[in-house]
């Protein structure tokens, strides 16, 4: 499974050695640049058509793959010797030995008529090419979810509703921090535990399970899927991709059965102890009550984040209600709108540069388009004058004819006009053709410079995903009891509130940021003095108004107040 490039164990880390995973999804520095046999590669046909291929070694043409498919048929094509020996695409057939090239190479088909590119798989490419079994979580959503769930190397992520495994692969990459092999701790577990205890100063009251969980510092994805066949296929795929030691797929209905993974065989440290949870379930509110720190499904030492992926708003709201009940905070309901943009060049006539009229499509509409008012004026002038001339010529001609025929038989006149019109229309085309030719000549070699004619335009892809799902995020902070608070207060004593330290100019309290009462200030700034003066003025005026009956000497008092 692992150890393509196993590194020397860190001298102190007695319990585990870290090695790079032998996976094309997670290449280490020594991973071969050429595509190794029996590994996954992605054939890039066009931007939207990618085909996964499990490259067979050159000698092995008969057997389908190293391990048989777990489920015979789930809408999947059965491998036959014919299609197993080569990759068949619409660009031709590519024998597997021809795919054993440096990743990223362009490959010619066996007949030499077409080509493809062979790429190293990434979770993004896999998402675009994987065989769909259920609706897939696409990269715009999964990238944001992983970013917000803070899935980091060494993390433990519960994924329920693994589906087609698109998000599983992205998460496996995010938690990957090497394959940790617990070589030392396995033979004498008790011993290993003791040393660990000593090293990290753990609380021995915690019980064995927790220590196992802490012992296991490898990043893991704990994936649940209630559809047994889908779980089996996903497990098989992960095996093929070399991710089986990072992802644990369990076939279970988490709404009913919860998340506990206490089976010691699993070797994941006793339970899930997740730091992040992703629920892609029809009814996540049924699963959320199973997520507690007490039963070991959530990490007891870290804050936990959750994301629920529901297409309907009602589902999302119900989820939020349950999250609030269960003591999660920072709940947030969002929707990711993503657009892919296309870059084209549009010519002055509004047509895409380099495009040719489609076979069968009528070109009449296109020909009628003009680039500008000036062109339109010139064109109309040319056409109409030309037509006029022609009509004049025709008229002269027919007049002549009539004159000639006046002597003889008469009777074909009504047809004459229509003839003229038709001729004119045909003639217009000739004129236009001439103009087009001259335009091309002006541009020189038209073919060479096509690619930088017109202007660059950007528009959204023709088929837009306007809604994928509502995402509900929340955080479960660490529990904090009154006792904890008291202990923390002992450890970090809180000083008494300091006496206000005032800025003499602004009257602001340095210590608290609040304003101090004015009487305590020493000096006042000019604006403050002005303000005080104004207030005094106003008070004086009011007082004066109130005591209307008083004598004029009162106003003198008021001015005295002002003076103060």
């Amino acid at each position: 499974m692992a150890a393509a490039a196993s590194q020397p164990a860190p001298p102190h880390g007695a319990s585990s050695t870290v090695a790079y995973a032998d996976s094309p999804f997670l290449p280490g520095p020594d991973y071969s640049p050429t595509i190794p046999p029996n590994s996954r590669a992605i054939a890039h046909l066009t931007r939207d058509v990618l085909q996964p291929v499990l490259v067979q070694p050159s000698g092995n043409n008969g057997s389908p793959s190293s391990t048989p498919e777990p489920v015979a048929n789930l809408k999947r094509k059965l491998p036959t010797p014919a299609n197993n020996a080569s990759l068949n695409t619409r660009f031709g057939s590519f024998p597997h030995p021809s795919l054993l090239v440096p990743a990223g190479s362009q490959i010619r088909s066996s007949t030499g008529t077409g080509f493809i590119h062979v790429l190293r798989p990434t979770p993004e490419l896999w998402t675009l090419s994987l065989p769909h079994r259920t609706q897939v979580v696409y990269t715009p959503d999964s990238s944001y979810i992983l970013h917000r769930l803070r899935v980091r190397p060494g993390g433990r992520v519960i994924e329920a509703g693994a589906g087609s495994g698109s998000f599983t692969h992205a998460t496996a990459r995010a938690v990957y921090n090497g394959i940790h092999e617990k070589a030392a701790s396995k033979p004498d577990k008790a011993n290993g535990k003791d040393t660990l205890n000593g090293a990290e100063g753990e609380d021995p009251a915690n019980g064995g399970r927790d220590q196992n969980a802490q012992d296991d510092s490898q990043g893991r994805v704990l994936s649940f899927e209630f559809h047994a066949d889908r779980a089996a296929i996903l497990r098989h795929e992960l095996q093929q991709h070399g991710l089986q030691s990072i992802v644990t797929v369990t076939s279970r209905d988490v709404c009913a059965g919860g998340f506990a993974l206490t089976d010691p065989e699993l070797d994941i440290g006793g339970n899930t102890y997740a730091t992040a949870v992703f629920l892609d379930l029809p009814a996540p509110w049924l699963a959320i009550p199973h997520l507690t720190r007490e039963n070991g499904s959530l990490s007891r030492t870290k804050s936990v984040r959750i994301c629920c992926f529901s297409p309907c708003l009602e589902q999302a709201l119900r989820t939020i209600a349950v999250l609030r009940e269960q003591g999660w905070v920072e709940e947030d309901l969002v929707e990711v709108t993503h657009k892919r943009l296309e870059v084209r060049r549009i010519g002055p006539d509004g047509k895409e540069i380099g495009s040719k009229p489609r076979a069968g499509a009528s070109t009449a509409d296109d020909d009628l388009r003009v680039a500008s008012v000036e062109e339109s004026v010139a064109r109309l002038k040319r056409q109409l004058w030309h037509r006029k001339e022609k009509q004049a010529r025709q008229r002269a001609k027919s007049a002549k004819k009539r004159k000639l025929e006046a002597n003889g038989a008469e009777g074909e006149q009504p047809d004459d006009d229509s003839d003229v019109d038709m001729d004119a229309a045909a003639d217009d085309d000739d004129v236009e053709a001439d103009v087009d030719d001259t335009r091309k000549e002006e541009n020189g070699n038209s073919k060479l410079h096509l690619f930088h004619q017109g202007r660059v335009v950007v528009r959204t892809e023709p088929e837009l995903k306007t809604h994928t799902s509502y995402l509900v995020f929340a955080v479960l902070p660490l529990p904090w009891s009154d006792e904890d608070e008291a202990n923390a207060k002992l450890k970090y004593p809180i000083p008494p509130r300091p006496a206000p330290q005032l800025n003499p100019k602004t009257g602001r309290d340095y210590a608290s940021g609040g304003f101090a009462p004015k009487s305590m200030t020493g000096k006042l700034s000019k604006t403050q003095e002005k303000k005080l003066k104004k207030a005094a003025d106003k008070a004086a005026r009011l007082a004066a108004e109130a005591s209307k009956s008083a004598a004029a000497s009162d106003s003198g008092d008021a001015s005295q107040v002002q003076g103060d």
Binding site: T46, Q106, L119, T122, N206, A256, C312, Q315, F451
Partner: protein
């Protein structure tokens, strides 16, 4: 309980504080100091240290000084209260569908028949119920409507004037004061003020539930001095800088764009990444976080290193067998949580190592003398003051090179070796001077190793978020990528990226190949036209810095030469190296999530949308005729599995059009050198 230190607020940590005004503040928690929050008051930093993140605190005022935790149950109860009536109303369809055994079963059927998962899982349940009692549904609806009308209130009778609130500010002040004198226990008095405010509002019973909720919320934001402390991680900091600080400084990069960049660049533990970062270090921080370089005890705030200790460390460095027990223990601890795969277990830690790690590295290319990584400071890493952060994982795994050092290292002055000092003279020197000399030697060696490692290429991805002209950047960076490596560009505006996509357009590429083919066939033995025309030394004799010693120059001349693309106004970059450049833009829309009042937020930040372009580094077939005309019809007739056939029908229409239109989407198909 044993709690990982990372999860608790530690002394000297930078944390983000969410204020009642719905703004955020970046604060450094220095022990025994006071954190002032303006009008919201102040509290001692000690009341945060050692506590977990994401808790809510009430700021005590008056004689009490400090913070008091607010229970989550209390916080959530208000919001839950709004859920309750709705749930009660929806009780009717609920019991039958929500029993745990029932619902998953339905979902199972749902997905097994191939309906998109979760698409309508919930709806279908309800549909079934509706189908069962269609008759009662109408009654139900009618009853609800009547109830709604009865309860419905409007703002018809509410007058907008100052008299609505009969409580004066003097009264409020008095209440505040009375709370301050000690009677307020468990932050009771702000709630009292709010209750009194609601009581004395003239139209309070005329208000609709929605407007009442809004009013209450506004008042509680004003009087309940509650704060929440969240960690200053990359995502939170991005949002903080975008909303509160100078967003232009970080190219207005949104959280979702950053996530998209990290995913498409395939950032993971153990990879090697090239980063060009004009966001002040935000991209570097995000990459580092994804590579585990910001986790672990080493990434914590440095303990203050006293000058004496610093001097002692320098002294120790001189000895060849540097077996300082302290330091070794330190480095051992460094590797405990995060066993770095390629950290050479030398005595020197961090940037003092001369060897460059082989994996899990970030190489920053910068245009100036020094990279601008100021936003790394909240992550306890100061690129300009490395002495205090030698043990930080970034100090060994973050490599920075200027473009000059990458492209023509022979002209760089930092590669000059200090004038060698003979051993006797060295021994006679003062220890401080001696260590300076050693440090200079090490720095030169490290830089040389860094240049060599970078020039060797093989990077997993290049992440570029820059305001520089992109063609030059792409030409410098793409040759360093490994096959199938990713080039990811971020730009706040779409135009620069559209330009890049246009440089790789199908028409331009086929023209480029045609010209290349013509020139190669015209030359007599045109087999080696692909990369450098002559395998000469990579050094440019004109730009060699004469002060660089011969050994260094010899090393430099063995470096692999970068395949130079001759820039041309028509072909600013080599269009054959990049496969399927695609531009994305992503935007997250936030909702107010309250039953009966759920809607997208009314306002959000405008400005730049943020665009991400990604392309894959590929190796084109060199020489020979490459034609790509798929045989569409005959292949389709074979009729493979159904899904594929369906897809093909759809694809075919677009692709055939693509070939004939030679549109930009069907980019990699046409390489037709005959015409």
């Amino acid at each position: 309980m044993v709690v990982v230190a990372m999860e608790l607020i530690q002394p000297h940590d930078e944390v983000l504080i969410q204020l009642p005004s719905e703004t955020t503040k970046l604060v450094k928690v220095v022990p025994d100091q006071i954190i002032g929050l303006g009008k919201f008051g102040s509290f001692p930093a000690n009341s945060l240290i050692g506590r977990p993140y994401y808790l809510t605190w009430a700021i005590l005022d008056g004689d009490n000084f400090g913070l008091e935790p607010v229970s989550i149950a209390e916080l959530n109860s208000e919001k839950l209260a709004t859920h309750a009536p709705v749930d009660a109303a929806a009780k009717k369809p609920k019991p039958s569908s929500a029993t745990p055994s029932d619902s998953p079963g339905i979902a199972l059927e749902d997905t097994a028949v191939g309906v998109q998962v979760g698409e309508d899982g919930e709806d279908e349940e309800e549909d079934e119920d509706v189908a069962l009692d269609a008759g009662t549904l109408e009654l139900e609806l009618e009853r609800e409507q009547r109830a709604w009308e009865k309860e419905m209130k409007t703002n018809k009778d509410i007058r907008d004037d100052q008299t609505a609130q009969s409580m004066t500010w003097q009264e409020i002040e008095r209440l505040k004061k009375s709370g301050g004198t000690g009677s307020g226990k468990r932050s009771g008095h702000p709630q009292e003020i709010i209750a009194r405010l609601l009581e004395s509002h003239a139209y309070i019973d005329k208000k609709t539930a929605f407007s009442l909720a809004k009013y209450t919320k506004r008042k509680s934001n004003k009087y309940l001095k509650r704060i929440r402390v969240i960690p200053a991680d990359v995502s939170n900091l991005t949002n903080f800088f975008l909303a509160e600080k100078e967003p232009l400084k970080m190219l207005e990069m949104r959280d979702e764009a950053l996530g998209l960049v990290m995913s498409w660049a395939d950032v993971r533990w153990g990879g090697r990444y090239l980063v060009i970062d004009d966001t002040g270090g935000l991209v570097v921080a995000a990459v580092a976080e994804r590579m585990g370089l910001l986790a672990g005890d080493d990434a914590r705030a440095p303990k203050k290193v006293s000058n004496a200790r610093k001097r002692k460390r320098h002294d120790d460095e001189d000895d060849a067998d540097d077996n300082d027990a302290d330091e070794r223990k330190e480095s051992a601890e460094a590797d405990k949580d995060e066993p770095w795969p390629a950290t050479p277990t030398k005595q020197k830690s961090g940037y003092e190592q001369t060897e460059v790690p082989a994996a899990n590295t970030i190489t920053v290319l910068h245009a100036q003398d020094q990279p601008n990584l100021s936003l790394l400071r909240p992550f306890n890493f100061d690129a300009t003051n490395l002495v205090n952060t030698t043990t930080h994982p970034l100090s060994s795994h973050l490599l920075s090179l200027s473009f000059l050092q990458l492209l023509s290292p022979e002209a760089d002055t930092t590669l000059e070796k200090p004038t060698p000092i003979p051993d006797e003279a060295l021994r006679a020197m003062k220890s401080a001077k001696r260590s300076t000399y050693h440090r200079k030697c090490r720095r030169q060696e490290r830089l040389l190793n860094m240049i060599a490692a970078t020039r060797r290429g093989g990077f997993d991805a290049a992440i570029i978020a820059t305001t520089m002209e992109l063609s030059g950047v792409i030409n410098a960076v793409v040759p360093l990528l490994r096959g199938s490596g990713q080039l990811v560009l971020f730009s706040p505006n779409v135009e620069p990226l559209a330009e890049v996509a246009d440089w790789c357009s199908t028409l331009r590429r086929s023209e480029f190949l045609r010209i290349k083919q013509e020139s190669s066939s015209s030359s007599s033995n045109g087999t080696t036209t692909d990369t450098s025309t002559t395998p000469q030394t990579s050094l440019d004799p004109a730009s060699i810095n004469p002060d660089i010693d011969a050994d260094t120059l010899a090393t430099l001349s063995t470096l692999p030469k970068l395949p130079a693309h001759k820039t041309d106004p028509h072909f600013p970059i080599d269009p054959t190296n990049l496969l399927a450049p695609t531009i994305h833009t992503s935007r997250v829309r936030r909702f107010q999530a309250l039953p009966g009042r759920t809607h997208p937020l009314m306002t959000s930040r405008g400005g730049s949308e943020g665009f991400v372009l990604h392309a894959t580094k590929v190796f084109p077939i060199l020489g020979g005729k490459v034609e790509a005309r798929g045989r569409f019809t005959s292949n389709r007739r074979k009729g493979n599995r159904q899904r594929e056939a369906e897809q093909r029908v759809k694809e075919e229409s677009t692709v055939v059009a693509g070939v004939e239109d030679a549109g930009a989407t069907a980019d990699e198909m046409v390489v037709d050198n005959s015409g």
